[in-house]
């Protein structure tokens, strides 16, 4: 009799030692004459438990974690292979872990469950079901389904995906492109990475659906070079999808055609901005383009182009398979469906939390996150990446919803939630926002290129206690100038974290005794 054991293979599991756990488990099984079927599954996204080892039993999968290589022998002695659960690392049935059980996983329904590269696994869990349906639909019907789902772009700007697709669909037939924005530059985000590493066929299916919807036969995934594991796994999935007839000419005998290629970025945050990304894909410096023309009308190589975030595209297979209404049934107000939130930074239980819009930040950080890693009081949280405001306690009861956040100047962005305990120096954080902008600005406009450098200098002077009143005014003016005078959100939003510190943590921008 053979035993099936799962050891995840995503970046974080690997970073926490999953390869060593897998090797040790293999050796131990060998020594003990146990016939082992070791599956390198994706991660469940419960990162504080990684490496999260699972064993298959007649009653479902049981979880153990976080497992170090040095724990493997004692786990096996305590009956890991027999599904015994008296070891201190035993967590019981995986599906019953509250963090997982209390989620609403639509996009992430398969992650951690399957072997990311197995097409059979993918199909066994409703994979390609949306595509099979869509192959019999015309483009407009697919666009209509996406519109009816209420899906809005998950990359940051929250623009309705169906309307973007309609624009590209309505352009005259000819060369059109689907571009997937997998630049995921925001600190505190890893959901795009998880899709590409743990469920790569989902993105392939979503992009193919986009191609069928708008009449595009070529897609590009623009992936950041900081993600070597995602690059390896996704490239392998692409090759296998071609072999199995899910990509290329005549997809599954339908007569439809879609080609897909992955391209690596080169370490520039601004290349996550869609027009800069297109310039980069064309082989240029990633300079931001003025809009209009919209990429939907004149995009890659001047052709009509859909640019969507990984998560937007990855939401579409569910919508086609289960129906637009099934997706729209989740959410609140104009934020429909689910949002993959990412808990990061100083958090006890960090990971991926997919939920319908509407949960409050406090519930997320306390009920799911379990508070800070250090156990100290939580002081501030940055939502929406490096351009997002730092939110003080008074704002933690806001429900996570695009409009509710916009109402107080916050951004949901890509759903990254970065927690800080009370040892954080908010003045440093404000300074870093400006420093980051000065490193990553594309350089096209003065308020951003020069303003960010000046911003660092002014904050340094403030913190040195020089001319506090004058410098405070100067900083406020500088922020206004950047907000008003920048071409894109890099310069236009960098002031948000700075202004939030000025407003909510003013004492930390003055001279502090050391």
């Amino acid at each position: 009799m053979s035993v099936t054991v799962y050891v995840p293979c995503d970046t974080t599991a690997l970073a926490m030692g999953a390869d060593a756990v897998a090797d040790t488990t293999r050796q131990a099984a060998n020594q003990r004459g146990v016939e082992l079927n070791l599956v390198r599954n994706g991660s469940r996204g419960l990162f504080w438990l990684e490496p999260l080892v699972e064993v298959a039993t007649p009653n479902g999968r049981l979880a153990y974690g976080p497992v170090k290589a040095a724990d493997v022998d004692s786990l096996i002695d305590a009956g890991l292979f027999e599904g015994k659960t008296d070891h201190p690392l035993a967590l019981g049935p995986t599906d019953d872990i509250p963090y997982l059980k209390n989620q609403q996983r639509l996009t992430f329904s398969r992650i951690g469950v399957t072997d990311p590269l197995s097409i059979d696994d993918y199909r066994a869990h409703r994979g390609f079901a949306g595509l099979e349906k869509a192959l019999n639909l015309d483009g407009q019907a697919i666009v209509d389904a996406v519109k009816a789902s209420g899906l809005r772009g998950r990359g940051g700007a929250a623009f309705p995906t169906g309307i973007k697709w309609q624009t590209v669909h309505d352009e005259p037939a000819g060369q059109k492109y689907i571009v997937c924005n997998a630049d995921e530059g925001d600190s505190g985000t890893f959901a795009d990475r998880l899709v590409m590493e743990c469920d790569p066929y989902l993105l392939i299916e979503g992009m193919t659906l986009a191609g069928l919807a708008v009449g595009a036969d070529q897609g590009y995934v623009y992936l950041r070079s900081e993600y070597p594991v995602a690059h390896r796994i996704f490239s392998e999935a692409l090759a296998r999808a071609y072999d199995a007839g899910y990509l290329g000419r005549d997809i599954r005998g339908s007569g439809r055609h879609f080609d897909l290629e992955v391209r690596l970025g080169a370490g520039a945050y601004i290349c996550g901005e869609e027009t800069s990304l297109l310039d980069s894909l064309e082989g240029k410096r990633g300079m931001v383009r003025a809009k209009p023309p919209l990429p939907a009308i004149k995009g890659l190589f001047g052709k009509p182009t859909v640019v969507n975030n990984v998560l937007s595209l990855a939401a579409v297979p569910f919508i086609l398979d289960q129906g637009a209404q099934a997706y729209a049934d989740y959410g609140m107000g104009k934020s429909r469906g689910t949002l993959p939130l990412q808990l990061a930074g100083n958090v006890k239980r960090g990971g991926l939390v997919e939920l319908a819009f509407g949960i409050t930040l406090r519930e997320l950080m306390e009920d799911f996150g379990g508070g800070t890693l250090t156990g100290r009081p939580l002081k501030a949280v940055q939502v929406g990446g490096p351009l997002g405001a730092y939110l003080p306690q008074s704002q933690w009861d806001t429900p996570i919803d695009y409009e509710a956040f916009a109402a107080f100047g916050g951004v949901v962005g890509h759903g990254g939630v970065v927690m800080f305990d009370d040892t954080v120096d908010m003045g440093e954080q404000a300074r870093f926002a400006m420093e980051f902008c000065s490193v990553e600005s594309c350089g096209k406009c003065t308020p951003c290129r020069i303003g960010a450098v000046r911003g660092v200098e002014v904050i340094d002077r403030l913190r040195a206690g020089e001319n506090v009143e004058t410098n405070r005014e100067l900083l406020a003016d500088l922020c206004d100038t950047m907000v008003d005078g920048s071409l894109c959100a890099m310069g236009g939003m960098t002031p948000f974290p700075v202004q939030s510190v000025m407003k909510h943590f003013p004492d930390e921008l003055t001279h502090r005794p050391t």
Binding site: T11, T12, L14, A15, M16, F47, W48, E50, E184, G185, D186, S187, G188, T189, F190, R193, S225, E226, Y227, P228, V229, A230, R263, L264, G265, A266, G267, A268, Y269, S280, L281, E282, G283, K284, R285, G286, F301, Q342, L343, A344, G345, N346, V347, G350, G351, L373, Q382, P386, G416, V418, M419, F420, D421, V424, E428, Q429, F432, F436, V439, E440
Partner: protein
């Protein structure tokens, strides 16, 4: 020219660089794939590649320089045996990345974009590795490490330098 640079200068030939260019030049938007291919093979984009790329892609040398210098990933000088990227972004800051960065610079005796005196390690900053729930994060060549503190970093460096010696 330092000993290391002389050594590195022998790591490529113009023909080899041209091979990489020719393997990709016909793709749409070939510039980044070409630069990646050259850097993947030789560890950096040698100065001598610029005129070849410019010629093949029908661009000026200034344009090619402009592209290489725009992207943090591309480098024009050889690295040490290993490249260490330290995450400087917010989620890692929240769990001690600033202190770790200071320790690393002191331990290696170098600043960012520099290579240690024994030519083992080149140090680079990075803004997020997607391991933000288990920071501080450090990437050594293509492997990401989580929850890195001063001790684990020192052990990592020891492992790197001892294996390098064994190989030689």
């Amino acid at each position: 020219m330092s000993q290391a640079a002389v050594q590195a200068a022998q790591d490529w030939t113009l023909e080899q660089i041209q091979q990489e260019i020719d393997a990709h030049r016909h793709r749409p938007g070939a510039m980044l794939p070409i630069l990646h291919a050259i850097q993947d093979r030789f560890g950096y984009v040698p100065e001598a590649a610029v005129p070849l790329i410019a010629e093949s892609m029908r661009q000026t040398r200034a344009e090619v320089h402009g592209i290489i210098s725009f992207y943090h990933h591309f480098r024009t000088r050889p690295t040490g045996s290993h490249v260490v990227h330290v995450c400087r972004a917010e989620a890692c800051q929240a769990v001690g990345a600033r202190q770790l960065e200071a320790h690393i610079k002191e331990r290696l005796g170098i600043d960012f974009h520099q290579t240690s005196a024994d030519n083992e390690i080149t140090l680079e900053p990075v803004y997020c590795l997607g391991n933000c729930a288990c920071g501080p994060s450090v990437r050594v060549d293509d492997d990401v490490h989580g929850r890195v503190d001063a001790d684990t970093f020192d052990r990592l460096v020891e492992q790197l330098t001892t294996t390098a010696v064994e190989v030689k």
